[in-house]
Amino acid sequence: MLRSSEFDHFASVGSMVAVVMRTYERPIMLARAIASVQNQTFRDWTLIIVNNGGNPGPVEDVVRVAKSATPCGDIQVLHLSERVGMEEASNRGLAATESDFFAIHDDDDSWNARFLEVAVDGMRAHPSAAAVVTGIYRIHELYRDGKIRPVHSEKFYLSEERLTFRGMIGNNTFPPIAALFQRRLLSEIGEFDSSLPVLGDWEFNLRAVLAGGFVYIPERLANYHTRTPDSETASGNSITVGIDLHHQIRGQLQKRWLEEPNIDGVNKGALSIATFAADNPNTVRRVWRKILAGVKNPLRGARAVWRIIRHIVSRLR
């Protein structure tokens, strides 16, 4: 059990939790996301909605409706006149708030009502941790004609191991909706990297995990919503709509890390590339299949090997 003195450093002027919600022209999803925050059994939060260059009118309309909920909670809106990157939007939202902890709640995701209560309890129990991450449901949903329908849900694979530095270095292992971070990280390791159009959360997580470790709470309290391919494109997730961009940025980051000095004799970039290959058995299996095919058909095999070499070189470039 924690003694009362161990809670002292959590006291602050602002809310205990700042929830940053980036949004762009998705009022129905935004309304759902706000309600997901308002439903929290833990009440000491401030929600900052960062309207990332979108039309202010629909956002204001949604917020006006949301403010008629009981309890309403502290909801603030930051309209950006021009669209900036996702991570820059997060940084602007964080800069506009004060808190002990923060969460990045994307406008298309949702929480179980107990998410903040459990995550804050987790933080209190592990004051030196950088973040608490809960279990996740992935909800595949269809968005069409202003209506959202879940198609199916699945248990998102996550484990304590996947929340360590080595567990995360190969891949982004969890979406932001599942995490509650210590605010102190921003001064210790810096903000989100605003130069990254995607995977900024992964890059941040890899810095954060070295500043205290992540605590895993297996209870599935976060809902990661992704739209099915037949949904309207404007509703899509960065991961489902921009998968090529994710590959490209992962390559860029790995290249950046290759140039960084080794830590304890290990290069972050090399470790990331090796771990990514090991974490993606399908990729390895695909390579093996191509090698086997090459044994049967040397010309086809040579072409496949050449393509793989070209791919690896392009990622290292």
Partner: protein, 658 residues
């Protein structure tokens, strides 16, 4: 018809020794089923030690199952021991040795604290002792004889000592397989024909001892409150206590299914009232409005509470329905806006179409001819002028009615409804906002919401008290499966509103009373409503007679009550539901659909399409779980249930921890 204790002893007058089962025959617990004892423990553990004990109750059941399986491997005759169960639990929950002692001690204490005497069992023991018959307690249980003595003493059976108890865990034998009966016969050393055994298990207390020549009497009345053993969590306890109270009050009488439906309705209504009180504690309110037919009962209870002196503000009940709010909100008539008025698979005549839209329609089609949905929509589009005029008139009357109810007063209004998507309330909010230039703001407080509410949240603020769209997809589906049951049970004595007309006192709703709904109300629903009102009143006033207090009413506990009845109904509840039909047509016409669907003929080769079609029919037209449990009672339809449960695992009876 159950026999009384004197009748049973008289029937077996040659018996000189009475043996009696303990749990649910002589002593029971003040919860509906044995596994709910663990929910009481979980509540206590979480209160004392926090979240790490969440899920304890279910894990405790699982641990016992594992321990029993392991015990059966080494010796099929012996019962599992309490220590073995606790050890398995420690393994499952990663508990320490100290925790082991803690839970073992707590379980014993909890059992004793919850012990209640069973009238029939105590009567027969008392009579036997008056006749100087030796009485021996024979129990299949993992606890010790001393624990049984402690529980007996807790309910006033002070004569019981450890030598009066033979319990399976201390003899390496069980009643179920007969070995404990051999121990009993050796212990008593009398002819089996001189023994009368009384218990609640048809096999262990009936067939098995009877095969050894022992006279038996089985009374399983205390088991009538049992539902699915795995559904145990602290949230289930308030409803469990209501069930246990009723079980004890009718221990020798017939089980009335209306009582448990009434208890459920009572918890829902109490939830609606508690939720409004929560809002009142947090903000200034311009008006409280219980709406639609499912708000009638809550409004009655609210009004009666005020009349009896409870400090509550005035609240209105106003009638509106999906159809009138849709019709009153028509601004454009085209294929898209008219689609919601006619289901794709509907067929109807032009006169019915006129009643549905509330205006006359010009058409060359014979008025007696049935037309398709496509043709019907084309007729509507061709009659856009008539429809818009009718809509404007209806809107004007509706607004007059709403004004009389106070809904157009500037400020924050709380509108209380049962559920389920919030679309009608969003439409209502839009009409009201337009009419008041945004001065009157509506907040929807609903008992249950499912995922269709996601799209409404941009239009109106919605709160789901017992269940909302952020619960798991499976819980969303479970709610969908019970909508028809709840709409039939939580309703008003009048029919649905189809319009508003001028009356002496201003504008009044026009109701359509269907024969089907009238009959349902007379046969069952009126009684359920009366019981529901009584239960809700007792809860929200914290009556000392009520086993549930207002502080017990939370979203989780109301949801648990909805699941206990709606998802794991008892046979008596299914039987009475066979009488009921649900009217779902937008114009409230027709005979509706039966709550319990007819079982389909199962093809020899079952494919996915068959299972999907059956499932969709049940989800959209019937009470899903009531129908599945009904089908499960017959071998020919039980296979279809199995097909559905395999394809849609959420339909399986376990709803806790899934």
């Amino acid at each position: 018809m159950s026999r009384s204790a004197p009748q049973v002893l008289e029937m077996h007058s040659s018996a000189t020794v009475l043996t009696i089962d303990f749990f649910d025959t002589l002593v029971s617990r003040s919860v509906a089923q044995p596994t709910h004892v663990f929910a009481v423990m979980e509540e206590e553990l979480c209160r004392r030690f926090g979240h790490r004990w969440t899920g304890f109750a279910l894990q405790r059941v699982v641990a016992e199952q594992i321990a029993r399986r392991k015990a059966a491997i080494t010796d099929t005759n012996r019962d599992v021991t309490f220590d073995e169960i606790c050890s398995e639990l420690c393994e499952l929950m990663d508990l320490s040795r100290d925790d082991h002692h803690l839970i073992a001690d707590l379980e014993k204490k909890t059992e004793v604290s919850l012990a209640v005497a069973v009238k029939f069992g105590c009567d027969i023991v008392s009579l036997a002792r008056e006749k100087s018959m030796p009485v021996l307690i024979v129990s299949d249980n993992y606890m010790s004889a001393q624990h049984i003595v402690n529980m007996a003493h807790a309910v006033g059976l002070s004569w019981v000592t450890a030598s009066d108890v033979i319990v399976s865990s201390e003899h390496g034998a069980m009643k179920h397989n007969g070995t404990l009966w051999d121990v009993v016969l050796r212990h008593l050393d009398v002819s089996p024909s001189l023994i009368l055994h009384v218990g609640d298990d048809a096999k262990a207390d009936g067939d098995v001892p009877a095969s050894r020549g022992i006279a038996t009497h089985v009374n399983d009345r205390m088991r009538r409150s049992h539902r699915h053993m795995m559904n145990t969590t602290p949230a289930v306890l308030p409803f469990s206590r209501l069930e246990a109270e009723y079980r004890d009050s009718v221990s020798s009488g017939e089980w009335d299914a209306a009582e448990m439906f009434g208890a459920l309705v009572g918890m829902i209504v109490a939830g609606q009232i508690v939720d409004v009180r929560n809002v009142l504690a947090q903000r200034e309110i311009a008006g409280i409005h219980f709406v639609a037919r499912d708000g009638f009962l809550a409004h009655s209870v609210w009004s009666n509470l005020r009349a009896s002196g409870v400090q509550l503000p005035e609240a209105s009940y106003f009638s509106f329905s999906r159809s009138v709010v849709w019709r009153a909100g028509i601004h454009v008539v085209d294929e898209l806006t008219m689609a919601r008025f006619i289901g794709d698979d509907e067929e109807m005549t032009v006169p019915r179409l006129e009643r549905r839209l509330g205006c006359s329609l010009d058409s060359t089609i014979d008025r007696t001819v049935t037309i398709s949905a496509v043709t019907a929509r084309q007729i509507l589009v061709a009659n856009s002028k008539n429809i818009l005029v009718a809509s404007a008139t209806l809107r004007e009357r509706m607004l007059s009615y709403l004004q009389a109810q106070g809904l157009l007063e500037p400020g924050h209004h709380v509108v209380v409804d049962l559920g389920w998507t919030g679309s009608s309330i969003a439409d209502l909010a839009h009409i009201v906002s337009e009419a008041t230039n945004g001065q009157s703001v509506i907040e929807g407080r609903l008992t249950g919401l499912y995922w269709d509410a996601w799209s409404q949240r941009a239009r109106v603020s919605l709160h789901g008290f017992a269940m909302d769209d952020f619960h798991t997809i499976d819980d969303n589906r479970r709610l969908l499966g019970i909508l028809n049951l709840l709409e039939v049970m939580v309703t008003a004595p009048h029919g649905s509103v189809v319009g508003y007309s001028d009356s002496e006192n201003g504008v009044a709703p026009i109701y359509v009373d269907t024969q089907v709904e009238k009959e349902a109300f007379e046969q069952l629903v009126a009684r359920v409503s009366a019981i529901g009102a009584r239960v809700a009143t007792a809860i929200v006033t914290d009556s000392p007679d009520s086993p549930v207090k207002s502080s017990d009413i939370t979203g989780e506990t109301v949801w648990a009550a909805m699941m206990q009845v709606g998802h794991t109904p008892r046979p008596e509840e299914i039987a009475v539901s066979g009488l009921l039909r649900h009217i779902s047509a937008i114009d409230h016409e027709g005979a509706g659909t039966a709550l319990l669907g007819d079982a389909p003929t199962r093809p020899k080769k079952v494919n996915d399409t068959f299972v999907h079609d059956v499932f969709n029919t049940l989800m959209h037209g019937h009470w899903l779980q009531g129908t599945l449990r009904h089908w499960n009672q017959k071998p020919e339809s039980a296979e279809v249930v199995s097909d559905i449960e395999k394809r849609f695992p959420f339909t399986q009876p376990q709803w806790v921890g899934q």
